[in-house]
């Protein structure tokens, strides 16, 4: 009885899905002739054997936690924001421009960069919202198109004299004053370098070998902020209401159009923030010519879905996703199994989440069996 209640909880469904995902991955690995235990061992070691690896996982989770939350925000208002890629690029591009062209004191510069990036990508999202509300253009279409438009726009801008770093195919870099790297000026100073080089503490290694940055704090703040927005504010209430029932919201005086636009804008701003935090947080602090999308937006969708479409859940699923992708490199280099195995694992996890009603069905089976017995009894009586 207790067990059944437990299985019916959404979190249990997600955990079971993860378990099944790994089992499926193991089967595929085994079929391909690899030892699954060894592979997962490599994954585990690749992630947990050193503090700096954990740091890397955290660093890499930052943008996808945010693109995940971005997806959640739109989803809550009944919108499908598949434009995370383009919005991410907008944020990154803005960050490079504001970070590279302006001279401001450290700290302040960082804040200005991320705010500007959020504004710019927010505007991009608002544009999608306006297209939807005013012109009836479905957000999926406009987002898919804008992803490509942003890619080419970025590629174009960074080849202009204005933004190009001479002799490279990349943009200028954001100034160090805009960086969010932890203890950046100290660790790059001579004294700092020396102290770090001679220290054996794990923290020193993290500082020295990774771009450990404050981005994750921003991501967590955003997650909490979005959670608070939906749970405790009028605006969040309206955004949700509009997402579930436009007619009732409209009649109750909640403007559907305004909230759709706002929701898209917030969603896009958060995806843009992801881009800005990558620029300010990690090497090489610039935008490069892209042949194709880097996949932050699509990863965000997976993160959001694994996280149960909740902002707080996205923190954990973002870390989890980042762990899998970062760790999959170890599977590849140690066991030789292609890293695509992780696509399959993640795909199966999401698939299992989609059909998590299966778990509830299975849990209920005993109960319905009892019911059938009751039915037979009733028949006898009748």
């Amino acid at each position: 009885m207790k067990m059944r209640e437990l299985i019916k909880k959404p979190a249990t469904g997600i955990l079971l899905a993860i378990l099944i995902g790994f089992v499926a991955g193991a089967v595929v690995l085994a079929v391909a002739g690899f030892n699954p235990l060894e592979a997962y061992g490599a994954l585990f070691r690749g992630v947990f054997s050193k503090p700096k690896y954990i740091a890397q996982v955290i660093i890499k989770s930052t943008p996808i936690i945010l693109t995940g939350i971005s997806f959640v925000v739109a989803f809550k208002s009944g919108l499908f924001n598949i434009g995370g890629e383009g919005q991410y690029i907008m944020g990154a591009l803005t960050a490079v421009i504001v970070g590279g062209k302006l001279e401001l004191p450290p700290g302040l510069h960082f804040v200005v960069v991320i705010i500007m990036a959020m504004i710019m990508s927010g505007l991009l999202g608002a544009f999608v919202g306006v297209l939807k509300t005013r012109f009836g253009v479905h957000e999926v279409i406009s987002c898919v198109m804008l992803n490509w438009i942003m890619l080419y726009l970025s590629n174009f801008l960074i080849t202009t004299e204005w933004l190009k770093k001479p002799g490279t195919e990349a943009s200028i870099e954001a100034n160090t004053s805009a960086w969010s790297v932890v203890l950046n000026s100290w660790k790059t100073s001579d004294a700092g370098m020396e102290q770090l080089a001679n220290s054996n503490s794990p923290m020193a290694e993290v500082l020295l070998k990774t771009d450990f940055n404050y981005g994750i704090l921003v991501a967590v703040l955003i997650a909490v902020g979005v959670y608070f927005l939906y749970k405790n504010t009028t605006k969040g209430y309206e955004l949700r209401a509009v997402g579930i029932n436009q007619h009732a919201s409209q009649l109750a005086g909640i403007s559907v159009n305004k909230n759709v636009i706002l929701s898209m804008a917030i969603s896009a701003a958060i995806a843009g923030l992801a881009g800005a935090l990558t620029i300010t947080g990690v090497m090489p602090h610039r935008v490069t010519q892209l042949a194709t999308h880097e996949g932050y937006g699509f990863a965000g969708i997976s993160v959001a879905l694994i996280g149960g479409c909740s902002p707080i859940g996205s923190i954990f699923s973002g870390l989890f996703y980042s762990m899998l992708t970062y760790g999959s490199a170890s599977i590849q280099s140690e066991v030789g199994a292609a890293s695509e195995i992780m696509d399959i694992v993640i795909g199966v996890i999401i698939y299992m989440i989609a059909i998590s009603s299966l778990f509830i069905m299975l849990a209920n089976r005993k109960k319905t069996a009892g019911c059938a017995a009751g039915k037979r009894k009733a028949e006898k009586h009748g």
Partner: protein, 351 residues
């Protein structure tokens, strides 16, 4: 050829698992032909991935050859995003291999950073150089303009319509080497034949859009070009496809691509990243490591050139003439241009 490679792949997994058990791979050096000691080598591929049909793949093939010939331990990591370069280099550095290669100019900064923070680790980078190269880093450049010059020359000699073309991916300094080298080669042939040869150049803005590359090629052929230089990265397949369908000649890039269309791939401007990686890595075992330097490899070193299969479709006299041009390039009588400025200079000199 395939079964051989398959067995080598199987071997590689075997080797790696034993390597894990033994901790370090170096202990089993004895079982292999003695060419110095066996080394542990790793590679970080750039965004194109290890199977990009281009220099990442070529680099990895060089390493696979090291494994097959000499029993070296080899492994690679792919990078999905630019921010992966640093963490991939760092992860491999932790394993303290004898050498870590990075492919592509995109990785330049991450590589420099890694070399600076890990002075005891040897690194090599392909396609990028620095003003000041750290002692533990060697930088390898290819004079792709030279091979491009040669294929341009062949195209110029062979065109019957006096019209050739080039389908490019996304412009960047490396791609420029190909474009201007090719243009110069065509111009050189035109001068020799004393005629004008038009060169169409169009960029697909993509390394992957096969359909677009194919469409561009179709239009070029249709406009009268009869030989195209397909240097579109992975999307080159599209150009070769157009050549096949329209029964025209096409020139491959990076690797000998004749196998993709034996009737149509005239020649390929090859860039032997594999051989250079093979060579430099081997030298480490012998105790020579050219750290702190940037070396350009060109025709002289046989690091670039035209495909060995060229004789299948290129007439012997033209091949012979091409060989002469090659000598002149090696001797420095001709200098192949590698960007717009040097190309303009070259053309001025030609006139």
């Amino acid at each position: 050829q395939e079964p051989a490679q398959e067995s080598s792949a199987a071997q590689s997994t075997e080797n790696e698992s034993t390597a894990q058990e033994n901790g370090e791979g170096e202990s089993e050096a004895g079982s292999k032909p003695a060419a110095g000691k066996t080394l542990n080598v790793a590679l970080v591929a750039d965004l194109g991935g290890i199977n990009d049909q281009s220099f990442n793949q070529s680099a990895w093939e060089g390493m696979q050859k090291l494994e097959a010939d000499l029993g070296y331990q080899v492994k690679y990591l792919e990078s999905a995003q630019e921010s992966d370069f640093g963490s991939n280099l760092d992860k491999l550095t932790d394993e303290e291999p004898d050498m870590i290669w990075g492919v592509g100019f995109l990785m330049a900064d991450a590589m420099l950073n890694a070399a600076k923070t890990n002075p005891d680790q040897k690194y090599g980078i392909v396609d990028s150089s620095y003003e000041e190269t750290p002692e533990n880093l060697t930088s390898v450049l290819f004079k792709a303009q030279e091979s491009s010059f040669l294929v341009g020359y062949i195209a110029g000699r062979m065109t019957e319509t006096d019209h050739v073309g080039l389908v490019g991916p996304i412009k960047n300094p490396i791609i420029d080497q190909f474009e201007y080298g090719f243009r110069a080669g065509v111009a050189y042939a035109a001068k020799e034949l004393d005629k004008d040869i038009a060169v169409d150049v169009q960029y697909a803005e993509s390394f992957s859009d096969n359909a677009k590359a194919k469409a561009i090629a179709t239009v070029m052929y249709n406009d009268g070009a009869d030989i195209l230089f397909a240097m579109t990265g992975g999307a080159s397949i599209g150009v070769i496809e157009a050549a096949k369908e329209m029964d025209q000649y096409v020139i491959g890039v990076d690797r000998d691509q004749n196998y993709l269309a034996p009737e149509n791939v005239l020649t390929s401007a090859i860039k032997n990243v594999d051989q250079v990686i093979y060579k430099i890595t081997r030298e480490i075992a012998d105790g020579t490591f050219a750290g702190g330097t940037a070396t350009s490899y060109g025709l002289a070193e046989d690091a670039v050139g035209i495909a060995p299969t060229s004789d299948q479709l290129v007439p012997a006299d033209i091949l012979a003439a091409t060989d002469k041009v090659k000598e002149e390039l090696i001797s420095g009588t001709i200098t192949a241009p590698l960007d717009e400025d040097s190309f303009n200079e070259f053309m001025a000199g030609l006139a």
